[in-house]
């Protein structure tokens, strides 16, 4: 089971700003280990965000995103108490979903 994400969602002005910390190796598949063998690629491929079940973000990621990625995005129309749900799926089809309430 992958480690949980840290999600912070806060209303700033007329937008809701969401900051997400994810715990992931994000191996590019281009790196070699100490014995000279290629380390197989293993990275987050897709990230989706929904608010109260309604999609607000859909992202396709690749190997250029850093280890333990930080994601920040904003959207309009949120109310305090709404639930932001983030899901990622990686190249091994491992997945993790976490949720946070929007604060004012």
């Amino acid at each position: 089971m992958p480690d949980p994400m840290r999600i912070r969602a806060k209303i700033e002005g007329d937008r809701c700003v969401v900051r997400v910390l994810m715990s992931h190796e994000m191996e590019t598949g281009l790196r070699k280990d100490a014995s000279g063998q290629l380390v197989p690629a293993h990275f987050i491929r897709r990230v989706t965000a929904t608010v109260n079940g309604k999609p607000v973000l859909n992202a396709l990621w690749g190997p250029a995103v850093s280890k333990n990625p930080v994601l920040q995005f904003s959207f309009t129309g949120a109310r305090p108490g709404d639930k932001v749900q983030i899901t990622w799926v990686d190249t091994k089809s491992e997945t993790r979903t976490d949720e946070a309430a929007i604060t004012a």
Partner: protein, 276 residues
């Protein structure tokens, strides 16, 4: 009559001087914009420090029943009584009567994991520093404990004679030149305003610089994607100096940590920090 050739010569010299002055200005501006760029980057990531992921894991590790004896670390005394985590990091390293020696945070955690939870010390030392999937419990636990002293001032009174001794020994080690490169910690960290490539080198005997540096350890290293403890920092400094390997939790490592911590007295803790 002298040939008029000397005049162009003088001009050339004047031009060269102007050019040199201009180059100095350019270099200063470049250095300035580089350090400002790093500062901007720090500000951008400070808000989203992946070190938080280690804090969360550290809290779970602190509370979980683990080890051969299946107990949690909540009975561990970090100096302010068993289980008291808030403010503990601001007063470490300190003398622990139950162990009969001065300990820093990581050494004390190891002591508790060994005596309370029954872990094997040699095994713990082998896993002192994390590497990708092979994670270190010390890095997560240190992040958690340090975070519970965020905003508090470093307070190392050096009351106990053993603490004074550790500080004196740490100071001696800091200036001790050895190894194939005839190096000391002070070679890099004994002067103000120095840098190596783009990294500013803190002058660790100077209270202002020591505070600025110490209060951000442990820290998330972006280039390594890992949380790193002060023990790791000292260990890597020894490697860079071509010294024999610094043993995790050894007296030498704790004495050096004590020297740095005491010099940082009064600094407001902001750990876990984030580094390049």
């Amino acid at each position: 009559m002298r040939p008029p050739a000397h005049r162009p010569g003088l001009w050339a010299l004047a031009l060269a001087v102007t050019a040199a002055a201009a180059m100095c200005t350019v270099a200063a501006a470049q250095e300035d914009s580089t350090s400002r760029g790093i500062e901007r980057y720090r500000e951008a990531v400070a808000d989203s420090n992946p070190g938080e992921l280690w804090e969360v894991r550290g809290e779970d590790l602190w509370k979980a029943r683990r080890g051969p004896l299946n107990v949690s670390l909540e009975g561990c005394d970090l100096g302010k009584g068993p289980g008291v985590v808030a403010g503990a990091y601001a007063e470490l390293p300190r003398y622990f009567a139950d162990a009969g020696r001065v300990m820093d945070l990581e050494t004390r955690l190891m002591h508790c994991m060994e005596t309370l939870q029954g872990f094997n010390r040699a095994e713990l030392v082998r896993r002192a520093f994390g590497d990708g999937e092979r994670r270190s419990d010390f890095e997560a636990l240190s992040a958690y404990v340090a975070a519970q002293s965020r905003g508090m001032a470093m307070n190392i009174p050096l009351k106990h004679p053993r603490e004074q001794e550790a500080y004196r020994e740490g100071e001696r080690l800091f200036f001790y030149r050895a190894g194939t490169h005839d190096f000391a910690c002070a070679t890099c960290h004994g002067q103000a305003g120095k840098r190596i490539r783009l990294q500013d080198l803190p002058y660790l005997s100077d209270p202002a610089d020591a505070r600025r540096t110490y209060v951000t350890w442990p820290a998330y290293r972006v280039s390594q994607g890992e949380m790193r403890t002060l023990q790791w920092r000292l260990n890597d400094c020894f490697r860079q100096q071509r010294f024999p390997q610094l043993v995790f939790g050894s007296e030498v490592s704790v004495d050096l940590a004590m020297y740095l911590a005491r010099n940082a007295n009064g600094g407001i803790l902001a750990a876990p920090g984030v580094k390049r």
